[in-house]
Amino acid sequence: MLILSIDSSATAASAALTDDSKLIGEFFTNTDFTHSRTLAPMIESLLQVTDKKVSEIDAVAVSNGPGSFTGVRIGVAVAKGIAFPDDIPCMGVSTLESMAYNLTLTDCVVCAAMDARRNQVYNAMFRIQYGEVYRLCDDRAISLIDLKAEITEKYNDDRIILVGDGAQLALRELMDLPLNVELAPESLRYQRASSVALAARARIKAGEKPSAHSELLPSYLRLSQAERERKEREQKASE
């Protein structure tokens, strides 16, 4: 199954092509927010040098959040745009989950953290065992103080490895505690398309099917104002 994977959920952007057994090609840049201009040409170049056509792609996987509002929107919009003409099915993968796949080489607890500003991070915890990734909690926005309390209570016997652009923030909060905690090396610390591909491949192996591109949505872990107002209205109406 030929999968095109895309990530532009924060400052870096990347695209990867994988089949069932190998990474065929990957294009990664970290040039700050230029995704609206660079992501589509990156994918075009990737297809060109790997000698593949859009029509050969069986599924498009994209990290659909959490992350930067603009970045997540661009990634999802590009995925939909590529999928639309040939009705290619799509799969949204949690940015945090994809980063856990950076670290499948060693048994550990992965603390994926992305900077959500004002001493908060987008976070999820994963356990890596024999190369498999097990999710320990849902994606969430959490204050660094609450995260610290949870890690101290639940993971004080584990080797904890931090990934994501909030890893440094989390480390600063955790380093004075008697915990076995470390930063992932830089080459493995951030989200990238090849990890999105690995997460998508694992989900497909577990029986999940990519869905219609129209069902692909960003997942910000925040409600837009319109959504909140509608919720409030509905709540009022039901009272």
Binding site: S68, F69, T70, G71, R117, Y220, R222, L223, Q225
Partner: protein, 136 residues
């Protein structure tokens, strides 16, 4: 805190230019003050010191205007932005650290601004052309 008194639009721009010379390229500047108090005039003076000499107007509907000066300048109007989720969905956080950020109607987002934000409060003075400008 520094206080300035302006007696005209021109003078407001000059004061803004003076303040601009003390700011870093990635500074967030939050303007406080009601309708007609000179926030846009102040902005015009501030950004002209950063090499933007035309096209400055309040982005009430667009929420953000981008100007290319010596550094990128991002001019926000938060009049219609009322909470943190709103602010996130303007893309505000994606602009921080990438250029000068100036915010009109910053009253609406005070709790969510970076810790090193420079605040400029504009208020009416004794007569109709006088303004009191405070930097905090």
């Amino acid at each position: 805190m520094t206080e300035y008194i302006s007696h005209s639009l021109q003078e407001t721009e000059t004061i803004a230019g003076e303040i601009a010379s003390t700011l870093s390229n990635n500074q967030v500047v939050a303007l406080l003050g009601g309708l007609g108090v000179g926030k846009t005039t102040f902005t015009r003076g501030l950004v002209s010191a950063f090499g933007v000499d035309s096209g400055v107007h309040s982005p009430t509907f667009a929420i953000v205007n981008e100007y290319q000066g010596d550094v990128p300048v991002y001019h926000f109007d938060m009049y219609r932005v009322t909470d943190e989720d709103d602010l996130y969905s303007t893309g505000f956080y994606d602009y921080l650290g990438r250029g000068l950020v100036i915010i009109e109607w910053s009253e609406n987002v005070l709790d969510y601004l970076p810790a090193d934000t420079v605040f400029i409060e504009l208020a009416y003075g004794e007569d109709e052309n006088t303004r009191i400008i405070k930097r905090k």
